[in-house]
Each structure stands twice: as structure tokens, then as C-alpha cells.
């Protein structure tokens, strides 16, 4: 009887274990039952995310990203997985793929890249998670090991930025974006991804640079290893993996296109908008770097000078007030009817007690922007400027 029970338990264990060894998506690919449920779940989580107000809506940019993604895969694969790239307004460096081919990229990482070859590396990596069915394999693996996803999520609470994402994403997105995949899957995504990048004709030397951007970010923000691209293997190991792979497998064939100019022309708007997000997040150095990078493409855009002024005004390091004024004046010299630098420079004069200069700036601001959302504050400052002047 005892042996019978043991046998029963063994049988149920075997029957309960689903294979995690799945072939990649090919032209005769069909969704398995649990995979269908995973895709359905992904759609539901994407619906929440897409209606959150966090999606960066710009058709031209989306078309460009989707075109690059489309060039990385064969038509057969594209017919099986409807890849779609969506940009998220978030200054932190991250990207994540849902199993149904919807890939979210933060503005932060797009703004940090230098060219199309780096973008292709990121997209190829994320697309490989989909084509090689990593979500399903990870899901089955966890199910087989009876590990509750909640426990995994709990273990990620200490990761910087992870808590926000946990609140935002459902379990499928969480697995992709926060907890990441195993060392095996991440390495597979790196190595298959680099092949796709090479096949598409991009310069593979640009591939490790994504990780170099991340390493720099870690150092600047004094962060631990990020959850981006999964937590394993470590960034430095992955840079080495890329280099070793290129040295051994593609010796002598390491050239290709970078398309830096096209990339920066297409994505310049993201660079500036993301720099404003960095300012909101209080990441002054990162915001400053973004504004200066943008100015290389658009040297006469007053918004970038206004942003540099705001960074200096809010950071308040030594000589920042003078720096801020100079940037605001530069913005106004390009576009005299730009109201925001007038308000900002007025605030600086007001705090310095230069009431006449402050009054002039505030009055110009309100005349250019009579319905400004902060007009109640400005009217209060003006009233006080008039009071002091009279007294």
C-alpha cells in the first residue's frame, strides 16, 4: 500500500511537471494552452499600462522603432509574433518584453543611446525573449518548482525602482521587467540578439555599449546592480560575454552601420522630453547631460536652454543662480515670446529682492501667458513688488 502511494505521488509529480525545453518560434509555431493564457494575461496587463497616461505617444517615433524591429526578424517570425514597440515615459533605464511580442522601452534608455545599432541590440535582445518563449519557460519552471511568484516579487523589493514597477505591472510584466529572467535566458537573449543585429547589418561593436551606459548610470546613481534586462548575469560579465562572442565567432567581420545621424534626428524629441523627466526626478546631472545632447542636434531650441536654466535654478549649487539667468537669457534671445524663462528669471530676481526687474519679468510673463496655471502666485509676487516699491 505504501509503495502504491509513493508511486501515485511520483506519477502526479511527473504529470504535473511541464517541459521547460521548448523550441523557438518558427513558421509552424502554435501556441500551447498555458501559453495562450499567458498571452491573454499579457494583453490585460498591457491594457492597464496603455491607459495609464504613462505611454509616450508619438506616431513618428513608434513607426521608426517598429521599422527597426521589423528589420531584425524574418517575415515568417513576424507573422507568428505581432511585435509592437511602445515607449514609456520613464527616465530610468529599462525595457521589457511581454510574451506576445509587445515590447516597452523607457524614454530613459532611448535618450541614453547614441545610434541605431545600439537600439537594434536592445530590440533584438527583447525580441529574443519572445521568439525563444522565455516567459513560458520561466513560468513553467516556477510552476514546476512550486515557487510562488509573490515570493519572487518580495525578494525584489530591495531593488531600486522595482517597487514602482511592481505596483504598475501585473505578474507577467513583473516577471519580464522586474524579476527578469534566469542567467541562461538572459545570455541566450544576448547571444541570439547579437546574431540578429549582425544579420541586419549593424555594427556589433555598439552592442556592449548599452551595458556601458547602464554601468555609468549605476555609478552615478550609486545603485546596486539593476533589474534591467534581468538581474543575471552581472553587467560586467555581459559586456565580456559580448566581446568574447564577437572575438571568437565573428573575427574580422566586425563592421556595419551605426546610423547615428538618423537615430538622433528621429529621437531628438525623446531626448529633450526625457531630460525634463530627469529634472522632475531630481536627477540634475542626467537632465543636464540630456539637454546638452539634445542641443547638439537642435542648437537653437530655446526649450533646451530653458531646461538648463531650470536645472541650475533648482539645483542651487555655487554660481547656479548666475548660470540659470544666463541660460534663461539665451532662451529668450532665441525666442523673446517664450513665457517660461520670463517667469523663472522673475523668480530669481524676486528672491534676490530686485523687485523692479522681477516685476518687469512677471508682467511680461503674464502678458504672454494670461491663463498660466500659476498666475495666482505671479499676481501675489506682483502685488508684493508694488508694495515694496511704494514703501
Amino acid at each position: 500500500m505504501r509503495y502504491f502511494f509513493l508511486l501515485l505521488i511520483l506519477c502526479s509529480l511527473i504529470a504535473g511537471c511541464l517541459t521547460t525545453s521548448l523550441p523557438p518560434v518558427t513558421e509552424d509555431f502554435g501556441l500551447e494552452d498555458d501559453e495562450k493564457r499567458l498571452w491573454q494575461r499579457s494583453k490585460e496587463e498591457q491594457r492597464v499600462l496603455n491607459n495609464s497616461g504613462l505611454v509616450y505617444r508619438d506616431n513618428e517615433i513608434e513607426d521608426y522603432l517598429n521599422k527597426i524591429a521589423g528589420n531584425l526578424q524574418t517575415p515568417e517570425i513576424l507573422a507568428r509574433i505581432p511585435f509592437r514597440i511602445i515607449v514609456i515615459k520613464n527616465p530610468y533605464l529599462n525595457a521589457f518584453a511581454f510574451p506576445n511580442g509587445v515590447i516597452y522601452i523607457h524614454t530613459g534608455i532611448l535618450a541614453r543611446m547614441d545610434n541605431e545599432a545600439q537600439l537594434a541590440t536592445l530590440l533584438a535582445h527583447e525580441m529574443t525573449h519572445c521568439t525563444h518563449r522565455h516567459a513560458l519557460r520561466a513560468f513553467r519552471d516556477r510552476k514546476n518548482k512550486a515557487i510562488d511568484l509573490a515570493a519572487v516579487q518580495e525578494s525584489q523589493i530591495g531593488c531600486d525602482g522595482a517597487v514602482d514597477l511592481l505596483a504598475l505591472l501585473g505578474s507577467t510584466g513583473c516577471m519580464a521587467a522586474v524579476t527578469g529572467y534566469s542567467r541562461e535566458f538572459e545570455t541566450e537573449a544576448d547571444m541570439v540578439g547579437i546574431r540578429l543585429v549582425l544579420q541586419a547589418g549593424y555594427d556589433p561593436n555598439e552592442a556592449p555599449k548599452i551595458f556601458e551606459h547602464l554601468t555609468k548610470e549605476l555609478a552615478e546613481e550609486k545603485l546596486r546592480e539593476p533589474f534591467f534586462f534581468g538581474t543575471h548575469p552581472k553587467l560586467q560579465d555581459r559586456i565580456e560575454n559580448y566581446r568574447n562572442f564577437l572575438d571568437t565567432r565573428y573575427q574580422g567581420k566586425r563592421t556595419g552601420t551605426k546610423n547615428s545621424e538618423v537615430f538622433l534626428t528621429k529621437l531628438h524629441k525623446v531626448i529633450l522630453d526625457n531630460a525634463f523627466l530627469d529634472l522632475k526626478a531630481g536627477r540634475f546631472s542626467t537632465a543636464q547631460r540630456g539637454a546638452k545632447k539634445y542641443l547638439k542636434t537642435k542648437p537653437n531650441d530655446p526649450r533646451a536652454y530653458y531646461l538648463l536654466g531650470e536645472i541650475s535654478r533648482q539645483r542651487k549649487k555655487q554660481n547656479d543662480t548666475d548660470r540659470a539667468k544666463a541660460y534663461y537669457k539665451k532662451a529668450l534671445s532665441i525666442e523673446p515670446s517664450y513665457p517660461d524663462p520670463l517667469r523663472a528669471i522673475g523668480l530669481l530676481y524676486y528672491k534676490e529682492g530686485k523687485k523692479t526687474l522681477a516685476k518687469r519679468s512677471f508682467e511680461s510673463y503674464l502678458s504672454l501667458s494670461p491663463h498660466a496655471p500659476d498666475r495666482a502666485y505671479i499676481k501675489q509676487y506682483l502685488a508684493q513688488c508694488n508694495e515694496k516699491k511704494g514703501s
Binding site: 492597464v48 491607459n51 495609464s52 497616461g53 504613462l54 520613464n90 514602482d164 514597477l165 505596483a167 504598475l168 522632475k280 526626478a281 531630481g282 536627477r283 533648482q314 542651487k316 523668480l347 524676486y350 528672491k351 496655471p373 500659476d374 495666482a376 502666485y377 501675489q380
Partner: protein, 185 residues
């Protein structure tokens, strides 16, 4: 007798750890930095970190009063309050903190104006947002800078039904809010 003593001890422990307690009447913060009147039938969360009161549960409505030193970092923005900041600049920091929170969806500012909380000059922000489940909330947030401390009193409620319903009660609470800390003028 032994059992009775154990039971009593257990009862004492349970009541001492009760997360919510009746809080009607004058409330004085543990650091003696502010006071206010808690309205009838509202419960107070038993914590020293801040004052959180609610009648039907914080998911439906709450009033939260916080005091923070300038050194205390925010959770979502690395910006800090600084000495000599204007109320408008302090409001900007608070808005950046809230809008950088990734669990706040469809965030929109309805009003951002200078405001006086009793005799203290500060700001008033009114904003709306949705949570992950799509539920809409509305908040009125008052902030005051006093020396190197920032005081805030906010009313948050489900946008539908509850916000309007308890708005008057919040205004009553706001009128009794008094800063009594060392920096209070």
C-alpha cells in the same frame, strides 16, 4: 486564575496593537509639533510616523498630516526642500514627487495656488489620479514651510461620491490645524 491572567494579557496585547483607534477630539502630535481636532466617528491609525484619520477606511477617504525635516529624502524624486524656498517652489517639489510615482496613473493638476493655512503662508494643490485598478481619486494638498520643516495636510478620497461627501468635514479639520513646533511663529 492563571488562564484568566493569560486571557487578560492577551486582551491587553490585542487592544494595544489595534491598528485603528477612536480619535475624536483634540489631537496633539507625539513631537508636539501640531494639533487638530479629529471629527466625530473618524478613526485614527495608531502610528507615530504621521496622523492618518478616516471614517470609512483610507481606501474611501482619509486626512493625512505629515511633518518632514528638509533632510528627509522623498521616495520618488531626489529633489529636496531648501531654506528660503517660496511656497510655489515647494509645491513644485511635491508635484514632482507625486508625478514621479509610477503607481499614480493619469495624474492631472486641477489647481495650484498660494494658500494660507490658518495664518501660515503656503500652497494648495488639487489633483486627480487613478490607481492601477482604474479607480479615480481626488486630493486637496496644503503645504507650509516653517524653518527647516515642511508640514502638509491633505484630504484624499474616492472621486465618486466620497470626495464631495467629506469635503466639508475636511475643511472643518483644516480650520483647527495649528502648528505648535519650535519654528511656529
Amino acid at each position: 486564575m492563571k488562564r484568566l491572567l493569560l486571557l487578560l494579557l492577551l486582551l491587553l496585547l490585542i487592544t494595544a496593537c489595534a491598528p485603528w483607534m477612536q480619535g475624536r477630539g483634540l489631537y496633539e502630535s507625539p513631537k508636539h509639533s501640531f494639533t487638530l481636532d479629529i471629527p466625530q466617528k473618524w478613526m485614527r491609525l495608531n502610528t507615530d510616523k504621521h496622523l492618518l484619520i478616516s471614517r470609512d477606511g483610507p481606501f474611501l477617504q482619509y486626512v493625512l498630516v505629515q511633518e518632514r525635516h528638509f533632510d528627509q529624502p522623498f521616495r520618488h524624486t531626489k529633489k529636496r526642500f531648501q531654506r528660503g524656498m517660496l511656497p510655489q517652489e515647494a509645491a513644485e517639489v511635491i508635484l514632482d514627487e507625486i508625478s514621479s510615482d509610477r503607481s499614480v496613473f493619469n495624474f492631472s493638476v486641477i489647481e495650484n495656488t498660494p494658500a494660507t493655512v490658518n495664518r501660515y503662508e503656503g500652497f494648495k494643490i488639487v489633483f486627480k489620479y487613478r490607481n492601477k485598478d482604474g479607480l479615480g481619486f481626488k486630493t486637496i494638498y496644503y503645504g507650509v514651510i516653517m524653518g527647516e520643516r515642511f508640514y502638509s495636510i491633505r484630504y484624499n478620497a474616492a472621486e465618486r461620491y466620497y470626495f464631495e461627501k467629506d469635503l466639508q468635514t475636511f475643511e472643518g479639520v483644516l480650520n483647527t490645524f495649528t502648528i505648535t513646533g519650535a519654528h511656529a511663529a
